[in-house]
Symmetry: none
């Protein structure tokens, strides 16, 4: 899938540049053989604040899109997500949060796997779809709390 390729490319560029990079939308689209809005799509769907990225951009001649992977400290992270969760949360959002926590060494990979399974739709299947999001948020928050000192 195109989206995955582009996301992978951007991640790789971020890795090489140490967490912040500038790219040009048209240029990248051309070199990948896709329409420019595809780049926008990838950025808005994959490099979200939830996953720990900041986006800045500038239009006009010589425009650019800047992608920054932001770093925080442990409790800050935990608090950030605690608040971000809100009243209910979908599985894919929760996964994004967990990946972010693991990537930043707030939790281990194994812990991320454990929690993601605890929050999975499959695990919460006894509850109605409407209730699930609320329950997932509740559980996730309790887990995050247990990780704060």
């Amino acid at each position: 899938m195109l989206t995955d390729q582009i996301a992978k490319l951007i991640e790789q560029m971020l890795e090489e540049s140490g967490g912040a990079l500038d790219l040009q939308r048209n240029e990248m689209a051309q070199s990948l053989g896709c329409v420019p809005s595809q780049i926008s799509y990838v950025i808005t769907s994959r490099f979200t604040p939830e996953r720990g990225y900041l986006i800045e951009s500038r239009r006009g001649g010589g425009g650019r899109i800047r992608i920054i992977r932001k770093q925080m400290h442990k409790n800050e992270y935990l608090m950030h997500f605690f608040h971000a969760i809100g009243n209910k949360i979908e599985e894919r959002e929760a996964l994004a949060y967990l990946k972010n926590l693991a990537d930043n060494d707030i939790i281990t990979e194994r812990e991320a796997i454990i929690v993601s399974n605890a929050l999975s739709t499959a695990a919460l299947s006894p509850v109605t779809p409407e209730g699930r999001g609320v329950l997932r948020a509740q559980i996730f928050k309790h887990v995050l709390l247990s990780l704060m000192q």
Copy 2:
């Protein structure tokens, strides 16, 4: 029976791929001459967590269904607990199990804390008291499965 054929095919594919495979529902349905929902039926009725399988999926263009087989025999200890849990479980029982798992270094102290919080009555408060035990069992089982190789 169609279901058995499909199940056999998937098992065979799992064998060849070494325990984890991606398939496309529509594609497989077409090549077998059945409706796509038949594939879903086989997966939900045969490749359940109880039998040691984990399912993930993604929709949209180029979507997929991922089936992962856990090797039960390598996880006798975890399987023991898996079966002991039954259909529902009280919080204090779950805590006892977790302590046991931690004491035997199957999980870390921290992991035990995380899971105990996820299974706590507080975390599961959106659910009725009757439903809680069932849900707790379901979540616990999924967590145990995720710990198996």
